[in-house]
């Protein structure tokens, strides 16, 4: 009767699991039968393996050879297969490289177009103020040269001299009224403009990289041409320049 079973259990003694005594705590958890079995099975397995390996070592044939022995190697204690290189015919290589050049050329053209489009609206006005150029005024006599005053010649305020892109005339400066400014809008537009300038800078850098890649590939393509005589290398390539080779001059018929 299940009801009786339940009731009888209430008076039962609860058998709790035995723990490691306090004095033997340093030995770790108390091992149970279950743990012992696991340990023993593992131990015997290892023993068996050792025995087998010893047996095999004794039975080894010194003349034994498998191809796998030379098609693989041990690296940092790990057994690795040797990988074979991909195989291509010379024609396939030529085609693949010409495709590479075409891809790079296309990308470079796209980049150049985008730079042109951006530059048509962003005229580097700040850079124009800072970059160096030479501005010469011609005068008739040495005396005039000595007395030369740039601000007076340009008819502008001396403070405007550094602002090369637009040195307003004195008369203009006197009559001018400044427009009302909305600080928030100004800040937003300046941020937008700066973003465009950063894009332009990145595109110019990328175009430069692509140009170097294109030139390097072009040289490589010429070097593959077996019909031409082997050229002499004058300069190795660097990060920013392709290598320089000199071909022997051959008269075309």
């Amino acid at each position: 009767m299940s009801s009786w079973k339940k009731v009888s259990k209430t008076n039962q003694h609860v058998h709790r699991e035995r723990h490691q005594p306090e004095s033997r705590v340093h030995l770790g958890l108390l091992e149970k039968k279950k743990d012992y079995r696991q340990r023993a099975i593992d131990y015997h397995e290892k023993q068996r393996t050792l025995k087998l390996l010893k047996r095999r070592a004794l039975d080894r044939n010194p003349d034994e050879f498998y191809f796998h022995m030379i098609n693989s190697h041990v690296e940092d204690g790990e057994h690795k297969e040797l990988e074979k290189d991909d195989e291509h015919t010379p024609d396939q290589i030529r085609l693949m490289q010409s495709q590479d050049i075409r891809y790079v050329t296309t990308k470079r053209t796209i980049e150049a177009r985008k730079i042109n489009r951006l530059q048509s609206q962003l005229h580097l006005l700040e850079a124009a103020n800072q970059s160096k150029n030479t501005h010469v005024f011609f005068v008739d006599t040495k005396k005039e040269a000595k007395q030369f005053d740039v601000a007076k010649q340009l008819d502008t305020h001396p403070a405007m001299l550094k602002r090369r892109i637009n040195r307003l005339r004195t008369a203009t400066l006197k009559n001018m009224s400044l427009p009302e400014m909305d600080e928030a809008a100004l800040e937003k537009l300046t941020a937008e403009r700066d973003k465009a300038y950063i894009e332009l800078e990145k595109r110019i850098d990328r175009e430069k990289e692509l140009r170097v890649i294109q030139q390097k590939l072009e040289i490589k393509r010429h070097l593959l041409n077996k019909k031409e005589s082997k050229p002499e290398r004058i300069k190795p390539s660097t990060k920013n320049t392709p290598p320089i080779y000199r071909w022997k001059y051959e008269r075309k018929r």
């Binding site: 150029n133 011609f138 090369r164 100004l186």
Partner: protein, 250 residues
């Protein structure tokens, strides 16, 4: 008179700053560009960007002038003192090519002024002719600038000669045309590409020798400016032709 147009109030996003040279402006805001007032609103000449600004009730349209493509624009942003192309003046433009810069010069001189645009190549001349149909102040001339007598019947006296012909004998071409068409005391503006004159010499030496040649032809230089950062080894020389003698008192 000289007012900033536009502003950032009420959703406007461009402000037009008047430039030292009349007829030229600088657009600020999202753009950062040199612009001219479009004489033919609603039309772009070579696919350049147009910026429309509301000034009170009427709309004004500006065209972006790219200094990477135009030597004159590069010289203006480089801080040249004078371009002698004020509104209403007559300009002889040698080496007009497709007329990109010519269109901006026509904007600057305005409807009162005149631009005689000389170009030898028929191919670029075609674009020039098409543009001149829309702009009444441009007179296109498809002739060799070395032979000004061939178009002497078309061109009157001019105030300024602009030359961007990139030929080794550029100085001679300018001198010839000045003799025919430039008034006494008129001005010339020449763009010199050092590699076109002598690709082996130093650019400074080339500029100096060109200035010498000009002086020999009574073209007296007043200033010379190089076009960094827009062009490398380019210079623009501005000067005066047969200036009146200085009075002793002055």
């Amino acid at each position: 008179m000289y007012l900033f147009i536009g502003g950032f109030k009420g959703g406007k996003n461009v402000i037009i700053e008047p430039h030292r040279h009349e007829g030229v402006f600088i657009a600020r805001g999202k753009e950062d560009a040199l612009v001219t007032l479009n004489m033919v609103p609603g039309e772009a000449v070579y696919g350049e960007k147009r910026i429309s600004v509301e000034d009170g009730e009427n709309k004004i349209e500006y065209r972006v002038w790219n200094p990477f493509r135009s030597k004159l624009a590069a010289a203006i942003l480089g801080g040249v003192d004078q371009i002698y192309m004020s509104p209403g003046s007559k300009v002889l433009y040698l080496g007009a090519a497709s007329g990109t810069t010519v269109s901006h010069v026509s904007d600057v001189v305005g409807p009162e002024g005149l631009v005689y645009a000389v170009e030898f190549s028929h191919r670029s001349g075609r674009d020039l002719l098409n543009m001149a149909k829309k702009r009444t102040n441009i007179i296109p001339i498809i002739e060799d600038a070395r032979h000004p007598h061939k178009y002497r019947m078309l061109v009157g006296m001019v105030d300024t000669v602009f030359a961007d012909v990139a030929q080794p004998d550029q100085a001679r071409i300018v001198a010839l045309n000045s003799q025919y068409f430039l008034k006494n005391g008129g001005h010339f503006v020449i763009s010199i590409k050092a590699s076109c004159i002598d690709s082996t010499a130093q650019p400074e030496a080339v500029f100096a020798s060109e200035v010498k040649k000009l002086q020999a032809d009574k073209l007296k230089p007043q200033e010379q400016i190089t076009l960094e950062p827009y062009e490398r080894d380019h210079a623009v020389v501005v000067g005066v032709y047969r200036p009146p003698p200085k009075s002793k008192g002055g």
